[in-house]
């Protein structure tokens, strides 16, 4: 792996850490439930991105499998939670 690529990857990783931290803070101090939900969804997506970055840093495709699981189920849970928030129920 080239130095440039490595640098970019690590930088992206740190950036993602910062972004997640920001989102978490916003979830913590959110103005309403929807805002927090958005934040949580965003955290999930950013972690997904982070998984992909780690996969690249480690040169290992295995993490994509984890990412796949997280991606699919992340949306499911977001929507389920949105349904709960709107409706007080899920099914």
């Amino acid at each position: 792996m080239s130095a440039a690529l490595s640098f970019v990857l690590h930088a992206a990783l740190i950036l993602h850490i910062a972004l997640i931290a920001l989102c978490v803070w916003r979830v913590w101090r959110g103005e309403n439930v929807i805002d927090r939900l958005i934040g949580a969804d965003l955290v999930g997506t950013l972690i997904l991105g982070m998984l992909v970055i780690i996969a690249m840093i480690r040169g290992n495709a295995l993490y994509i499998d984890v990412a796949l699981g997280l991606a699919a189920l992340g949306f499911v849970s977001t929507i389920a939670l949105a349904k709960y928030v709107a409706d007080g129920r899920m099914f």
């Binding site: 939900l37 991105g49 690249m56 495709a61 994509i64 990412a67 949306f75 949105a82 928030v85």
Partner: protein, 118 residues
């Protein structure tokens, strides 16, 4: 070829990261949940998708799965945004700086706030 691919990957990573940043910035700076959803949707669709593209290029065996992942992201991200927005509207989260709400006309939203106490 490798260098070219790496260059492409770097570009994709930078762009993806930039979009993710943009999304989070939007989440922080836009005035209401609806407009924020416009921004946060970008993170999944542009940010992560581009990162996945880079990963698909860089890591062995990752291409097929990368494709599936992109498919999932592009399909699921907007739907999630839609669901959240719909929920927001249902529970009566107000729109900021707005002049028009066609949905409010047809829908008599029953207010429900799950955070109200529990």
């Amino acid at each position: 070829m490798t260098t070219l691919l790496q260059a492409f990957a770097i570009l994709a990573i930078i762009t993806g990261a930039a979009f993710s940043t943009l999304g989070v910035l939007g989440y922080y700076r836009l005035p209401d949940v609806y407009t924020r959803l416009h921004a946060t949707g970008k993170v999944s669709v542009f940010g992560v998708v581009l990162l996945v593209v880079a990963a698909a290029v860089l890591t062995p065996l990752g291409f097929g799965k990368g494709l599936v992942l992109i498919f999932m992201l592009v399909l699921g991200g907007p739907v999630a945004s839609h669901a959240i927005a719909s929920a927001a509207h249902t529970i009566g989260i107000p729109l900021a700086r707005t002049t028009r709400d066609d949905l409010a006309v047809v829908q008599d939203a029953a207010p429900f706030d799950p955070g109200a106490g529990s």
